[in-house]
Symmetry: C2
Subunit: 116 residues, 2 copies
Amino acid sequence: MSSDDPAEVNPDLYRVVFENERVRVLEYLDHPGDMTRPHIHPDSVMITASAFDRRLVHGDQEVTVHLEAGEVRWLDAQTHSGHNIGANDTHTFFVELKEPRLSGSTTERTLGPSAP
Amino acid sequence: MSSDDPAEVNPDLYRVVFENERVRVLEYLDHPGDMTRPHIHPDSVMITASAFDRRLVHGDQEVTVHLEAGEVRWLDAQTHSGHNIGANDTHTFFVELKEPRLSGSTTERTLGPSAP
């Protein structure tokens, strides 16, 4: 991973909890007001362990995300930084896919998690 | 997926909560004493949402699994059936990898989840 690896740029917030040839799994835990430095996510599945309110920023793009605990979302490969704008800790897991996309999807990539 | 698809053979216990070209995500929820019919998991990441005690069986192989909530485990592609042998519901997520393994790993496959 590059130096844009979230586990390297925000080691206080992102923890590697599993890794093999196919996947790496990150656990993210922060507190209200915490912000991440810009970092890269490969294509990932996010499974939330808490409800949260976050603002995600990349360049001049910005999205606000509210999710409940136990939600599952796809995250297109992307660079962003995040800000906990809610009143509660953010606790979530990311299952990162280490292999390249096999299908040549030309779908426009979305900042932040997919729609459900 | 074949008719050994867990979402087809145990639709009361396995629910498809997300699917795209790369992954399918299953949510599993049962009650003490529940048993699954034999089914196939592709290479998957399991993230537990509850603690549980289960017995997994494939042919003459059998393993007993105790996990806490919030644990992350790799599941090698495998066929098995499961039995909730504990006192609590089992609630867990499976992120199934739909693409074939790129690396020709010859590691022996493990019944049940990997060691941490």
